[in-house]
Symmetry: C2
């Protein structure tokens, strides 16, 4: 199997209301590429959030007393802490400089995925400007996929990725936060190894592996390569649309020994 990860060129800075599919199709034209069935588009969360106008001006936030107390503990702006709490189901860890929560999507993430780099809105103080995750990244991925199908008649998979920290290891990793048309978790349960014995590794976070590889091409310092075309992936099984987007990658709390 040969997999290629191609950064799409010339994606302009994304503004609220921009149609990402138009930008992607324009870029593919520059590249001289047509989409093909089986292609995977990995799209940076940041441009999805920007297109969906998920900006938040902290001036509009009134922190609760809980947020104020927590802000002292984590040494962050109480208004930002309130914004994080508003995006979360629960706090997982709070310590100086670190606020890790279960984001509304169910993923455990620092700051509930709220981001302050590579964003700018005229008239808003940069220190007050935040960008939230998409309301529902699976729905965002699904919409992008459906619009590509409408416009060019090709069924591609769409993965929205974000850079997440992790326990035990240093450095962020690009991981999937929204998925459409792709089996996020490949299940080998009941499979056999080359000697006919039960496999030790039974579930693989395939959408995360794809998101991580694409993240290498995206880089971090700019948003200049926010879309990566992945070609050549041969999934183990046909995509089962009932697999509910990214949610199979969320570890249920009762199976999680580390929260």
């Amino acid at each position: 199997m040969e997999l290629s990860f191609t950064g799409l060129p010339d994606i302009p800075m994304v503004k609220p209301g921009d149609n990402l599919v138009e930008l992607i199709i324009d870029s593919l034209e520059h590249l001289g590429q047509d989409l093909e069935s089986g292609d995977v588009l990995v799209i940076a969360q940041k441009i999805v959030s920007k297109a969906e106008n998920r900006y938040l001006d902290l001036k509009t936030i009134e922190p609760s007393s809980l947020a104020i107390t927590l802000a002292q503990k984590v040494q962050k702006d109480p208004r930002k802490v309130q914004a994080i709490l508003d995006q979360s189901n629960e706090v997982v860890r709070a310590s100086p400089g670190v606020l890790i929560v279960e984001q509304k999507s169910g993923f455990v993430q620092a700051n509930g995925g709220i981001d302050q780099s590579n964003i700018e809105v005229k008239g808003v103080d940069p220190d007050d400007l935040c960008l939230l995750l998409p309301e529902n990244s699976d729905v965002s991925a699904e919409k992008i996929r459906a619009e590509i199908m409408l416009r060019v008649g090709v069924d591609v998979a769409v993965i929205i990725n974000d850079s997440l920290g992790r326990p035990w290891r240093m450095g962020t990793l690009g991981l999937a936060i929204g998925v459409s048309g792709f089996t996020a978790l490949e299940d080998y349960v009941g499979g056999e190894d080359i000697f006919g014995r039960e496999l030790q590794v039974t579930q693989v976070g395939a959408a995360d592996e794809m998101a991580a590889g694409a993240s290498l091409v995206m880089g971090q310092t700019t948003e200049k390569t926010p879309v990566v075309l992945v070609r050549g992936y041969q999934p183990r099984d046909p995509v089962d649309e009932s697999l509910r987007g990214v949610s199979p990658l969320i570890r249920p709390k009762d199976l999680d020994l580390f929260r």
Copy 2:
């Protein structure tokens, strides 16, 4: 940037003492490819361990009373628990079915990286046969890289990967456990975003992202594609050999909120 991940064809089953570099060079010949400076070879831990004869027959293990007690808790073979303890600095979590340790390398990993699938040794009961991680995966990577340099005069990077589970998310991810000639952790500290402000994401686990992408090409059910050639990666900075292989990816215990 375009990155290609190519699974090397026709790598035979690896036996103790096999020269992996020979197998890789033969495969590249079949593929009609020459190695180029800047190429990255991602190699599955399993074949490195096999070549290094890291097999262990549990019949040779006498479990301690600690291992016997722990084995009851985690519902595993006491001899295997002893083998895991022998490969570990400390136990991180133990619960029914799960034994997570800090492996001698410093990485936190289930079962200390000891594996029982896709291995076979004549005369050893499959239930007693284990495969340990390389003694030092950075050294293994370094040796492979040095031998490639000797044989074909090309400086490639080598990453040894393994499938690791993680807290919070389901499914394993291919991650780096040994690195040579590659900046495992890319450091953006002091970098600026496109608007000249400090970056939020400051350290990226680049070797892990590379290992994860390669893992997609390797698959899990067989070891038939244990080597992946990655071409086209443009590292942020020239490789600094003082960066000590994979160790920058190990989160120091005092910075780890989840153990």
